[in-house]
Subunit: 326 residues, 3 copies
């Protein structure tokens, strides 16, 4: 069951938290993409980002191990001039409800402006957001199966940079859809771009409840799903899910749900290939495809920093925040 | 036995290290509180702290795990513009006397200006201070049962902000007094504020040597101690101490030494409630009291950052430091 | 077998990576020493380093535990205004060839300007440098038995500061030469200074292939080697090597290959004593020598920061780097 909704917008429509793309107005999503795209363009022109978050504090509160997402947020915050504190508490005892809030309130009392939260339980970022007492913002960096909104946004940004009119595209997301927070956030972001032909492909045991994905086609044959596709987003296979899917080996998974060069030929000729990383080479994607000319995997990583900068600015750079926390 | 004293002041009366409040002149303590209070006021007016420690290096050398104290020092240093290096070496092999000094001298040789030291053995910060060869300062962030001077100062600051004339107050510190570095530093700080009616309450087995706490009342009945109190400082119960106190369970401890709403009614009507954190809810303090209107627990955390900024500025911002280290 | 060479210089002779001193033109080595010496002089005059790396990102990628080298690079980068990300992945699973490159490419895609790499396998920094796709630089912070170029440079710098004409000196390096990356880089750096009488001393089982050290004298009797020496560089003894050297105990090692006061009297009267650290007191060096007036051990540490600043500036501060990475 998805967590109860939490208002991410204040009464004037300004973004207060980024917990999920679900329920975010389309224009807010597009504005974030535009902002990230402008930051990217400035960087490519050799312009350093201004220290618009100078004096602000961003806390990375990671209850699950992560290298790339934490580093991406860390760099995004540093490049805007913020102070950053990193907590990697994957193995700590601070995960129980009660002491989680005490930890958060303690850090909040030290005047932090944003909590970037990753947690294995769906709903934790929202739970934290509901219990904050200051004007601090919560950024969901991935919670359980629920949402990974910055990944959804950076995927949409990457796609839009290559296909300026994404509405008419056929896009396939393939892998363990049922347990994927990336798939959920991608669907919301792509719908905001106007994508209509969105296909979800998974082994039968890992297919999601179709009611959760209105407007998406559901497939369990990858060759059918990929037919004529303009972009394919592959999901990382968690080893423990393979067993749940009754698939006997990684090799077997690759045969049925891996993106090989052969299979990619069933897609549109210049079909784009995406993956949130880290990739399992030879499991859900062939090395030659991951490293091939159609792959946008490293562009996704690059765009992720700009996207997270845009979100941080949107959440923290408004003039009234200093007032709130004093 | 407390460690042999170490001069924290130089010949002109300037603070060189902050090892213990014991022996610090009252006016130095009050000056630090004034400085912290000014930084707090500036922050509440929306003024960012100046980068007065730009180019300086602060090393957090934590031989015991700590989240809140380390983060508080980290943010204090960052907000003053210093470079910060964090060492969490709770589980490392660098704790033996000889190699401890080699580690310190190596870091000192890299031109660091301050060592913030936490160690489970009393006297370690002082030992380091005595062996430094440069003008670097040592800040004790808690050593064994000996002292936690910034906690004592921030508690005094928090109390003074709410009770501008603390001298006439009745204040109770309750918990494992015998093993508490917080209690020791609180007593020194409160005496500097002129507090005369200071009561220490602990289970019989955890009472301290009265000779160590001259001028304090010693109680083992919490209801008697709290009678008419203007402020109560609760101490965190370490699980291993409960057994030493011959107390069979946390529930039993709470009945006899926990701060419940009922028990708090025995104090003055607007008695303040403090705790250095992290709290054990339902063990030494009831949740309704910790989260209630008389609780200053999160204000203590907030004031801790300003207090540590004040100490860092006092120790490092003097003009002659650069000369010394060159 | 040493790794295949990798071009550290671009077509215009500018330093692109610092992988090894082997093959670096003598004038490049001396220019780095001059640059470091100028930074050191400025610091001693109380001048803060300019933020010439503002907006740049340095990633410390340490696959082996290290306190001093990592901190030295961290401080060097911070003091030049760079953003720093620290990865201590000694115990992680990211060490296999394939996933190592995926990690590097991911971090590279986030626009980092330099990778400081330590790895237990010789050739890893070079492997990374060969596979980078951007203009990012690789700094070898120690790889297997191969090289530790910044250590070699800082040792040469420290020596030159005390002996302005090093060419005529007799210098001994003593310890496990065979497995020492420090010895290899020291020899290259000292040859660049023009040192002609360079002696390598090791237990017979730990002597290197003489062909690998042309122009060096090879000794296994330390008393013979040290006779009339102007400087001795002692190497840290790895416990596991002692067994390989068929030496029954640390005490026995000290008797034969340790630097005692007695043994030091066989050297030139004001022979300099160096050690890359961390030292094993009473194993390869007596405490009284390590802490004595001839010891430069802590000066080496201090010079290390300036040397690493010089290397970072040389690699990153050139105007064209921003172009390359956009």
């Amino acid at each position: 069951m998805p967590p109860a909704p939490c208002s991410q917008l204040d009464s004037s429509g300004r973004l207060r938290h980024l917990i999920s793309l679900d329920g975010l107005p389309r224009e807010r999503i597009l504005a974030l993409l535009d902002h990230a795209q402008a930051l990217r363009a400035a960087s490519r022109n050799g312009t350093r980002a201004a220290d618009v978050l100078a004096g602000r504090t961003v806390i990375n509160l990671f209850f699950e191990p992560s290298t790339r997402t934490r580093t991406s947020f860390d760099l995004a915050a540093q490049r805007l001039g913020a102070h950053v504190i990193n907590f990697d508490i994957a193995s700590s005892s601070t995960t129980k409800g009660e002491s989680l809030l005490d930890t958060v309130h303690t850090l909040e009392a030290m005047h932090c402006d944003a909590f970037v939260v990753r947690h294995k339980e769906s709903g934790t970022p929202q739970y934290i957001a509901r219990h904050l007492r200051s004007g601090a913002a919560v950024l969901n960096a991935g919670d359980g199966n629920h949402a990974h909104p910055t990944q959804g946004l950076l995927d949409a940004l990457t796609l839009r940079l290559h296909r300026p009119n994404p509405a008419a595209l056929r896009i396939v997301i393939c892998g363990d859809i049922r347990h994927s927070r990336v798939a959920r956030s991608d669907v919301h972001a792509l719908h905001a771009l106007g994508v209509r032909d969105l296909r979800l492909c998974a082994p039968p045991q890992l297919l999601p409840d179709p009611a959760e994905f209105p407007g998406c086609g559901i497939f369990h044959n990858f060759d059918e799903a990929i037919d004529g596709a303009d972009a394919v987003i592959m999901l990382r296979l968690q080893k423990e899910r393979m067993e749940a899917a009754a698939i006997p080996s990684e090799a077997e998974y690759f045969v049925r749900y891996g993106l090989s060069s052969d299979r990619l030929r069933g897609a549109h000729r210049d079909c784009l290939v995406m993956h949130p990383g880290p990739i399992n080479r030879g499991v859900e994607i062939a090395s030659e495809v991951a490293d091939g000319p159609q792959s946008l995997i490293l562009e996704q990583v690059a765009n992720g920093v700009f996207l997270r900068m845009a979100v941080l600015v949107e959440l923290l750079a408004a003039g009234d925040s200093a007032k709130i926390r004093a």
